[in-house]
Amino acid sequence: MRYLLTDTLIAGLPLVPVVMGIYLVIRIRQDFDLTVDGSLTLGGALAAVLLNHGAGVPLAMLVAVAGAAAAGLVTTGLHLMFRIPVILAGLVMSIGMTTLNLRLLGRPSISLGDGGTLFSGLAGLAPDVRDWLTVAILAAFAGVFLAAVGYLLLTEIGLALRATGVNARMARAQGVDDRRSLALCLALANASAGLSGALIVQSQGFADSGTGTGTLLAGVGAVMLGELITRPGGASRVGRVIVAVLAGTLVYRLVLVGALRAGLQATDLAGITALTLVAAVALNRYLPELGRSLRRGSPARRPRGAAATVKEVG
């Protein structure tokens, strides 16, 4: 149990960007984009190949993010040009990108050389210190990323994005270009996946062509767990959305790390993922009712209303 916390954080923090990206697509656009499975691997592959060719960490990560964002734009293009539903366009992309990623890597898995990753400065330190510094670096990335996305959502452009997901007809009547909003959303979601891929590859020291498989599903599970914990309730409460994403990602990883600690094998993780997802859905469905029936008898709660503050939107 000793390393449960650091293991969870080291495995979970790199996933924060991609879960945020998935949140943007499934909750703000009300759609599913499977491209993220391929983009996460692509981001990792681009970063690994560039780092192994001696590129600096900033350049490698920038290219990883940009490449993944481009994948999101291709998905948007498929959807808009050929009228393929986003979920199908994403599926096609994720399958196509498997080949692209294998070509990039040259073989199914490559390891990163000793020099020049985000974490190579920590090589000589004691394991405990190294773990916590790794956590600190990953937390810094996750924190800056979440703050940036939170700010974006609160801007005029982000507001237009949130509105198209809730009421597209009204958003168009207010002059919002639906197609541009979708492009922004998918580019952002996949850029986030690319960033996650680049962080994962560097923290684990190798890039694998299968890293991204199941990312969307895992992200959906994390989002649902997060919503269970924080009940964000509406796209206007951006602060709560961010807490939901962070908490959901970490709790989700904690379940998986905990399962491994309890003696399950790595091959069991797919099953655990599925069970976690089902549990999250079930709890989301029935927990509020249970809460209501427990509260019955106690003084009626005032509905969120007149007393709600404007803090979260200001």
Partner: protein, 263 residues
């Protein structure tokens, strides 16, 4: 302000289900004029709204706003000039977003949206002042999701949103139809005040013969995709709801039950 030149709109062209929704509509509405439109179901009222709003592209003819040809512009690209209020009182606002977010969204209609905070303290003060004028107490509920508001409150907010950013044309698509009588009067009053304040052209589709006659400067009757009756001034004022129903019935179109009941 608004001009339609020989606008024709055909749905499902070339198929067995082909429908001529608009058949050569010529129409000119100057700035400041308030026009009401009545007609039975299928007369082409909604198609007229669609062509003016930009959700339908005419098969033939031109749509001009302030002399500019906008025939090929999609709805979002016309939003600076055309403000819409829908028949469904829930359609004009985004339910999951707060009242402040909805107003901020409308406050940027037709201009470039920036990477700057949408809801600022200064804008909130302006929003409270605007909402206070509705007299519904909504100025205290800026952070509430719009989903918590009643249908009448939401239509009032949509009307308020339509009046932001000085549109050149108010496009009102049976926007009073789904409201209870008291709310209807209130939203109608707000509509007229908004029209006066903006000095814009207004096009109001209605199923109420009484509103069609009593409200506005000019009345159009549509049938089978054409404007068949166009009156203004004393001639319009002299109309009675029963007489108007007779006119529609005389065109060979059966007035809907709803129109008869609404009198």
């Amino acid at each position: 302000m608004l001009r339609l030149d020989g606008v024709r709109l055909v749905h499902n062209a070339g198929t067995p289900t082909e429908v001529v929704a608009l058949d050569h509509v010529d129409l000119e509405i100057p700035a400041g004029q308030f026009v009401t439109v009545v007609g039975s179901n299928g007369a082409g009222k909604s198609s007229l709204v669609g062509v003016v709003a930009g959700t339908h592209r005419p098969s033939r003819g031109r749509v001009l706003l302030d002399g500019r040809d906008v025939t090929r512009l999609p709805d979002h690209a016309r939003a600076a000039a055309v403000a819409r209020v829908f028949d469904d009182p829930l359609a004009g606002t985004a339910p999951g977003l707060s009242l402040a977010d909805n107003l901020a969204l409308a406050g940027a209609r037709g201009r470039r949206r920036r990477l700057l905070p949408a809801v600022t303290r200064g804008r909130q003060a302006g929003m409270r002042a605007d909402l206070a004028m509705l007299g519904l107490g909504l100025e205290h509920r800026l952070a509430d999701p719009v989903a918590l508001l009643s249908a009448g409150q939401r239509q009032s907010v949509t009307m308020l949103m339509a009046g932001l950013r000085r549109p050149r044309l108010l496009l009102l698509d049976e926007h009073l139809a789904a409201l209870d009588p008291r709310t209807r009067d209130r939203v109608l009053d707000l509509t007229l005040r908004t029209h006066e304040r903006l000095g814009c052209a207004s096009l109001m589709i209605t199923h109420s013969m009484r509103h069609a006659i009593e409200v506005g400067d000019r009345l159009l009757v549509m049938a089978r995709g054409r404007v068949v009756y166009d009156v203004a001034g004393p001639e319009k004022a002299a109309l009675t709801p029963a007489g108007l129903v007779d006119i529609i019935a005389g065109l060979g179109d059966a007035p809907s039950d709803r129109q008869l009941l609404a009198g």
